[in-house]
Amino acid sequence: MLKSKTKGAIVASAILIGLGGLHPAVAAEKILKIGAPLPLTGPLAPDGARLKSGYDLWAETQNAAGGIKAGPDTYKVEIVYTDYQSNTPRAVQSAERMISEDKVDAIFAPFGSGATKAVSAITEKYGVPMIASNAASVQVFDQGFKYLFGMYTPNSTVTQPLVDLVMKTNPSVKRVAVLARNDLFPLAIAEELTNYAKSKGLEIVSDQKFPIGSVDFSSALTQIRAANPDWIYATGYTNDMIMIRKQMQEQGVKTQLITMLIGPTTPEFIEGTGKLAENVVTSSWWDVATKFKGEDVFGSAENFDRLYRKRNNNGYPDYSVASAAACGAVLQLAITKAGTVEKSKVRDQLAAMDTDTFFGHIKFGPTGQISSLKPPVMQIQNGTPAVVYPPEIKQSELRFDPK
């Protein structure tokens, strides 16, 4: 038995070393390869699918428009995907594989702040530009990396304007209850909000966390009910929000304003909660209502919306999808401006960018995180999301429920 096992091990090692040495055949036309590790299985699967739809839409649209022009050459876009199974170390492994074996020219970051931060260590080491569609926490960008760019503004741009708006519009709102999912991004937002609200004189009457994967919130909501808040701020992901909103009604929780991050603008939420969605407020990094216009391949928010719906069975493009596609759009602008696909030059053009796109005006701050966007605040009014902030693009006024 030992001998056959030995042979097996030797053969296995040989295969592995062989696989390691394989290089894809060089194609005749020029191809721009972008690596995109995605969580296609595991708890983050829904988000992975959304990101993929955004990336695919961009690649298709860009190629249909003739590819990416870089100096005298034109490149066809090819995205290399792997499934990192919602597991950060796999994401890191994927990135390294894409860089050393597939020889990608750029990387689209994995989903979420944690995985993005882990992978950024790799891309920085190798000097490969990485654009993150879905990382907002400032902690992701605090390592002084030069090759990392993020499409979301920091969490404070999401929480602070809303607090100011609420306090201005309805001074009777004083008591705030916070309910956060025990997960990186929702916790970060909740912490931001709590600190800012306190600094502005609001009282945090309840501050709770719920474990990832919870489906029952009756205990937490009973506590909230006992605390009698004017404003309930819940953070988590769409399915958490649907459950919380429904169970709020089941538990008799009443309040003047409900804010939920993220989820209320998705069709799942609106269908899932029906009438209960009315007046729920959320912040979003983009919505078709913003009506942005730009120099990218999509040209305008409305065109992006139209193309997405056409390709995805009239599905709704929420901001995470738009952000994903925007990564591609921004990359193309940088490459064309640089006149080459050489990584360091593309990186420089990304750092210098100051352009309008369908996603908004793009300018990256010194840490690589975008600094030029103002996340709109949206409220579900009459069953559809309406923009209530910032004043430049608002469609409606913020509404409150009676005390």
Binding site: M1, A12, L16, D83, P89, E96, R97, G114, K125
Partner: protein, 311 residues
């Protein structure tokens, strides 16, 4: 050790030592992963293979080592000290947990160890001040080149694997190994003939926990960012078991061969199937379990008898 085995070990060692010089970074990464799992498999082998106690808690020690090492490293201390801390914490916890849990047998022991992982994960998640909780723990990045870093961690893992291997060899050929094998075959009889089963079991469990924790410590430094869900992952408990079952329970070389064979399959499946890789891995595990080599059959008879005798 037979001459064949010795020459194999020497050849393998030579290949491994030379790898950073010939392999690219990605191959080195794969090799490091392989060494890591080989170590985990050998760690499990002490309690599961030799002693026959079905521990499903390897991930608990792995995660504990990762966090202990990680937390210490983020205070700025040298990486070697961080790893020492990982081993210390893991060994201590194994000692204490062993005292408590090793009085259970069979299913009860399996469940308890499985659950310990979950508890540790939630505690780590909640202890935000120390561990960063759900926001994860970032480990400082000491600006070496990618190649240098790959080589460094490869050699670190190789060293650990070597130490674990030597320990396994020593245990297999001395009283402890013999005692553990007796416990596996029939614990009550072992007690009667005068083997201090409690002490031996605790030794095995502690060895298992300590090596798993060491692996976790190196792993955390290597990846640079850990989250409770990543390291307290039940797959770190299950995969090593499958590897040891594949390679041969309670043997010296078994875990290593099992690890290599399983990981090659795992990597090939992962590369080849985008959306189905988890399912196909499951299929592989099912096939392996149903059609395992003859090594498993003899284990069965004994375990059947043990189950019949145990209340």
């Amino acid at each position: 050790m037979t001459r064949l085995q010795l020459s194999l070990v020497l050849v393998a060692t030579a290949i491994l030592l030379a790898m950073p010089l010939v392999g690219g970074n990605y191959v080195l990464r794969l090799a490091t992963i392989m060494l890591m799992y080989a170590t985990l498999a050998m760690a499990w082998n002490f309690i599961g293979g030799f002693a026959g106690y079905p521990s499903f808690g390897l991930a608990a020690f792995f995660g504990l080592g990762a966090y202990a090492g990680g937390v210490v490293q983020s205070t700025g201390v040298s990486i070697a000290l961080a790893w020492l801390a990982a081993v210390a914490v893991g060994t201590l916890f194994a000692l204490v947990l062993g005292f408590i849990l090793l009085r259970l047998r069979g299913s009860a022991f399996a469940i308890a160890t499985l659950v310990v992982t979950e508890v540790l994960r939630e505690v780590t998640n909640g202890w935000t001040g120390l561990t960063g909780g759900g926001m994860g723990l970032n480990l400082p990045f000491f600006g070496w080149s990618p190649s240098a870093l790959s080589a460094f961690f490869f050699y670190a893992m190789l060293a650990l694997t070597a130490v674990t291997f030597v320990t396994t060899f020593i245990v297999a050929h001395n009283r402890l190994g013999f005692g553990l094998t007796c416990i596996r075959q029939n614990e009550d009889a072992a007690n009667i003939v005068g083997i201090d089963t409690t002490r031996y079991k605790i030794y095995a469990f502690t060895l298992s926990g300590g090596f798993a924790a060491a692996t976790g410590g190196i792993y955390a430094s290597w990846i640079g960012y850990i989250e409770p869900g990543d390291v307290y992952d039940v797959l770190f408990s299950i995969k090593p078991i499958v590897m040891v079952l594949l390679g041969g329970m309670g043997t010296v070389f078994g875990p290593i061969f099992g690890a290599v064979a399983f990981l090659v399959l795992d990597e090939v499946v992962w590369r080849s199937f985008l959306e189905l890789n988890t399912g196909i891995l499951g299929l592989l595990i099912v096939i392996l379990i149903l059609f395992l080599p003859a090594g498993l059959a003899s284990f069965d008879v004994r375990s059947l008898w043990r189950r019949a005798v145990t209340p």
